[in-house]
């Protein structure tokens, strides 16, 4: 036995030695910064481009090399990893993250001043995402891209069944009508009914569509001041969940979660297994941002695609949920000044041009979405006709998701998903009304816990709840509400659209519309 141990010891020592000797040289003459991001192959190109951008803009050493080296850290992309690494002082210098949540942790650098200096303040990007870059008037990051929750239709599949793809804008009834016709035609020779109009509504892909439909009904997950959830106050949220249930279980327009898991397609990078099923015609429609096209382009024969905005309900307003993969600077970084250059790079034309080229959502600079390369990419004529409508919708009706200081957005999404699960799986023990009530209770309890834990927040919360009471009173009396009272980005937009808000005296109406997504 002792010889066996000795052999193992020698072999392992030898292998360790070889590993050390053959390891690539990671030393650098210039400061090395790490960018914590996802494992998209395009990131390598973006890093190379950044180094070139540094050279082009004169950020070079005496021998003409970039003054810093940026390396990717894709292994720490998980949100919980980022949280733990940040509070432990070992996070990457630049992080793609939920700025609101990380700012709550106090781990992000305030970049307001340097952003103005280097030209990456929120005014240079889409108005719809400004509310998720700035908190209490301070900026904490910049978009790597600008995402929109839209619905993509495989035009070829629709043509195969003798149908036109859905229009750009439609209401839920029309969506349902087209869907019924589609599944009837698509499954005429398929008794198992395994061809679906749209991918599953039970997963994360439909989060944006759900929120958009809810907003269309004039409702948001939280109230105007983001101090309370009132989803159970009326039946609007429940009605949308009922529709989801009907579309899935009664009309079979979309697969159940179980049916979706049965498909043997595997998810790789960039959007899950649904994309493969979209390509094969199993799904007529998928729900993604423009970034979904990254993988569509990799198919051998990319299908012709069209785009639709999420359906409206009850004659409500068309809107588009916007988000962003956004980068912030870690407060513990030793090179915060250099990291700021990266954010400046994100606001540069070369970077936005690369986003345009790679189809990684909308570019941070809206002006780049007006180019021919964006609207009609030469290599992908199958996409002509989809890019411009997305950009126009983002400018016209795009509103970011909410970021309450009292409850993480991820918590709200999780509670809403649980409520949706209960309704979608027809839970015999818990009625839909009870599921929604429990969801509201959980969110409001979380807000209460958060406020109770922090005396500073208590003051803010008290102030905002008082404001909310005033808003409610004004609304009850039919009086217009001062816009500055409202902090929920959706309601700011909605109140203006409905004519329920009055702008501060010093703010011209045109400026107001611009601030709310009325034009870039």
């Amino acid at each position: 036995m002792k010889y066996l141990f000795l052999i193992f010891f020698v072999v392992l020592s030898g292998m360790a030695g070889i590993t050390v000797l053959t390891a690539p040289d990671t030393s650098s003459d210039v400061p090395v910064l790490y960018w914590v991001t996802d494992a998209n192959p395009a990131r390598y190109e973006q890093v190379d481009l950044f180094h070139q951008w540094l050279i082009d803009n004169g950020y070079v050493t005496e021998d003409g090399k970039p003054i810093m080296e940026l390396r990717l850290d894709t292994a720490s992309a998980d949100p919980t990893k980022k949280i733990i690494q940040s509070v432990a002082g070992v996070a990457g210098d630049i992080m793609d993250c939920d700025l609101a949540q990380m700012r709550e942790l106090g781990v992000l650098e305030d970049v307001t001043d340097v952003a103005r200096e280097l030209g990456f303040d929120p005014s240079v990007t889409y108005p719809g995402v400004r509310s998720i870059l700035e908190f209490e008037g301070r900026q904490y990051g910049f978009p790597c891209n600008v995402a929109t929750s839209v619905m993509w239709a495989n035009v070829d599949t629709f043509a195969q069944y003798g149908m036109e793809p859905p229009p750009l804008e439609m209401d839920a009834d029309e969506f349902e009508r087209i869907g019924l016709e589609y599944v009837e035609r698509a499954n005429a020779d398929n008794p198992a009914k395994r061809r679906f109009f749209c991918e599953s509504l039970a997963g994360w892909q439909s989060d944006g569509v759900l929120l958009s439909m809810l907003r269309s009904s004039g409702k948001s997950f939280l109230n105007e001041t983001m101090t309370e959830s009132r989803l159970d106050q009326d039946s609007r949220f429940l009605d949308i969940l009922d529709r989801f249930y009907r579309w899935t279980y009664v009309y079979n327009l979309t697969p159940t979660a179980a049916q979706e898991s049965s498909f043997s397609a595997q998810a790789g990078y960039g959007g899950g297994a649904g994309l493969a099923l979209f390509q094969t015609g199993q799904y007529g429609i998928i729900m993604r941002g423009r970034w979904g096209l990254i993988r569509v382009r990799q198919f051998e024969n990319p299908p012709n695609v069209s785009v639709s905005l999420p359906p409206t309900v009850d004659g409500g307003l068309q809107n588009l949920v916007m988000g962003s993969r956004r980068a912030g600077i870690y407060k513990g970084s030793k090179h915060k000044d250099l990291a700021a250059l990266f954010l400046a790079y994100l606001a540069s034309e070369p970077y936005s041009a690369q986003i345009v080229k790679s189809a990684d959502a909308l570019p941070p600079l809206p002006s780049l979405a007006e180019t021919e390369e964006f609207i009609r990419p030469a290599d992908f004529p199958n996409e002509w006709g989809v890019h411009d409508p997305i950009d126009q919708a983002a400018r016209r009706v795009g509103i970011a998701g909410l970021s309450s200081p009292f409850v993480p957005t991820s918590y709200i999404v999780r509670e809403v998903s649980i409520a949706r699960d209960h309704v979608m799986t027809n839970n015999p023990v818990k009625t839909p009304e009870r599921a929604v009530a429990d969801c509201v209770l959980a969110i409001n309890q979380e807000i209460a816990r958060d406020v109770a834990a922090d005396p500073n927040k208590q003051a803010l919360y008290d102030e905002l709840t008082e404001t909310q009471a005033r808003i409610d009173a004004y609304r009850a009396e039919g009086r217009p509400v001062p816009l500055e009272w409202i902090t929920n980005p959706f309601y700011r937009w909605y109140y203006v659209q409905q004519g329920w808000a009055v702008a501060p005296e010093e703010t011209a109406q045109s400026d107001l519309e611009s601030d709310l997504g009325g034009g870039v």
């Binding site: 179980a258 513990g332 834990a453």
Partner: protein, 495 residues
């Protein structure tokens, strides 16, 4: 000194990576440590909050639900242990073929493999799974006849040393509703069952509920009679009697709601009647038990906790059986309507169905547990059973079961005791990796176990103080169960 030097690395590691964090976590449980308020960038002082975190935990339905689900999952432990024992016993048999058997196995294996090859050549794509199973079976058969039990032991142990995430993903595919091999295999039998149920009068099938009621009464009778006998033989104290009775009583109480349909609140008369019959029988058995106790004069001073372990194990197993009968009766009642519906009976949706998700995970856990370290421990234990005992039993004319029950099982008691303790600890603590990979706590939180709940609170919401309180509660639970096992199980082992 030399001894200490050798022990030092281990002791230092234990202190640095186990004891200190443990004590630190205990302190945390009494503070308001919230990552959003207290980290290296937020200099807010950490406040001592006394028992606030524990108070919140007690008032938090999610904690209780998670604990309940964890305990539910632990119902698979006895089955896993039984499976490990069975596997160990099988693997101690002489499985190596003699020259004649070898030749026979090799021929049989070759035929199987050749058959698989021919089916492949015939282009039978739909039989791919069958081919695979036949091929694997043939290979195992041939290898086993040559290598003997070593081959089988290795194969049985494979799930344990295969990476967890890989097996979870594999099982996820196995559980796929329409395309998974499990449901593909179940489709034909279930279609057959649909046809059979449709052909039978609905009342006849639904009468199966009464059979379940009868089975419940029999199980209750068996349990009560054992308790009664143990008491009369002075092998059972007051505690064992009380706790055993409570465990047996739980399904009886539950039977009150047997006939009530949860979603509508209406009562199904025949099921309700069956429930009343079971309850009436239980009351009768209770009276029989009590009157039986009253007339007995105990000759020695029996300790109150005498036989508590045995009583709890017996009654816990019976309780699981009683609950299973309750569930089965509801299924039998609903079966005709389900079969008559469009499409007839369908295989379960496994991990996609909130009602099936936990049983699905238990079944997968059984697969992993049977060939786990428990099997190795039993194998080691079996090799230590003195051969003379079996020889003596042979002389006395004992049969196979008699030898197992009177020699093997008692001789393995220390091993079983150890396995039970470790399994219970593992059951309370574990499941995180499996849940994170397969269900992420869903559907509708049905697989959110305690460990997953702790993770969410600590690392998604940042409430380290509260998460520590829950963790220490879990630790207290584990400690209590372990102490209980040591106190009563140890006595049972040595008795």
């Amino acid at each position: 000194m030399t001894g200490l030097a050798f022990l030092a690395p281990n002791i230092l590691g234990f202190l640095g990576f186990t004891l200190v964090p443990l004590v630190f976590a205990l302190m945390l449980a009494f503070t308001d440590w919230d990552l959003t308020l207290h980290n290296m960038f937020q200099s807010r002082p950490l406040d001592f909050v006394g028992l606030d975190n524990f108070e919140r935990m007690i008032n938090e339905p999610r904690f209780w639900n998670s604990l309940g689900r964890t305990l539910f999952m632990m119902m698979g432990i006895p089955f896993g242990i039984a499976g490990s024992l069975l596997a160990a016993i099988l693997l101690t048999q002489n499985l190596r073929g003699g020259s004649g058997r070898n030749t026979g196995y090799i021929i049989a294996g070759a035929i199987l493999l050749a058959g698989s090859g021919m089916l492949t050549l015939a282009g039978l794509g739909s039989t791919a799974m069958t081919l695979l199973v036949i091929g694997v079976a043939g290979t195992i058969l041939v290898s086993g006849s040559i290598g003997g039990s070593t081959v089988y032991r290795t194969l049985f142990y494979t799930p344990y040393f295969t990476a967890g995430v890989a097996t979870y993903l594999l099982w996820k595919k196995m559980y796929a509703v329409d395309t998974g091999p499990i449901n593909v295999a179940l489709t034909d039998p279930i279609d057959g069952l649909t046809t059979a149920v449709r052909a039978l009068p609905a009342g006849l099938v639904q009468a199966g509920a009464w059979l379940c009621a009868g089975a419940m009464v029999l199980l209750l009778f068996w349990g009560v009679s054992r308790l009664r006998r143990w008491w009369r033989e002075e092998d059972l104290g007051v505690y064992g009697l009380i706790f055993g009775g409570v465990l047996l009583g739980l399904p009886v109480v539950w039977a009150s709601s047997w006939g009530v349909v949860a979603e509508s609140g209406e009562t199904i008369a025949s099921l309700a009647a069956a429930g009343y019959v079971v309850q009436a029988a239980a009351i009768g058995l209770g009276v029989w038990l009590v009157t039986g106790l009253a007339g007995v004069e105990r000759t020695r001073l029996t300790p109150s906790d005498e036989g508590l372990g045995s009583a709890l194990i017996l009654c816990a197993v019976l309780m699981i059986g009683l609950f299973a009968m309750l569930g089965l009766s509801r299924v039998l009642y609903a079966l005709p309507a389900m079969a008559a519906s469009t499409g007839g009976l369908k295989p379960p949706e496994w991990i996609s169905d909130a009602d099936w998700a936990k049983p699905s995970l238990i079944m997968m856990g059984l697969w992993a547990a049977i060939g786990s370290n428990n099997m190795l421990l039993y194998l080691a234990g079996l090799s230590n059973v003195p051969g003379e005992l079996y020889e003596a039993a042979d002389i006395d004319g004992a049969g196979r079961f008699g030898k197992f029950w009177n020699i093997t099982w008692p001789q393995l008691a220390p091993v079983t005791f150890f396995i039970v303790v470790m399994s219970v600890i593992g059951g309370l603590q574990g499941g995180f990796e499996m849940v994170k990979t397969m269900t992420n706590g869903g559907p509708r939180e049905s697989t959110t176990l305690l460990s997953f709940y702790i993770y969410t609170e600590a690392f998604e919401l940042g409430r380290l103080g509260y998460a520590s309180a829950v963790t220490w509660t879990l630790f207290g639970l584990v400690l209590s169960v372990t102490l209980f096992n040591w106190k009563f199980g140890n006595r049972y082992v040595n008795g």
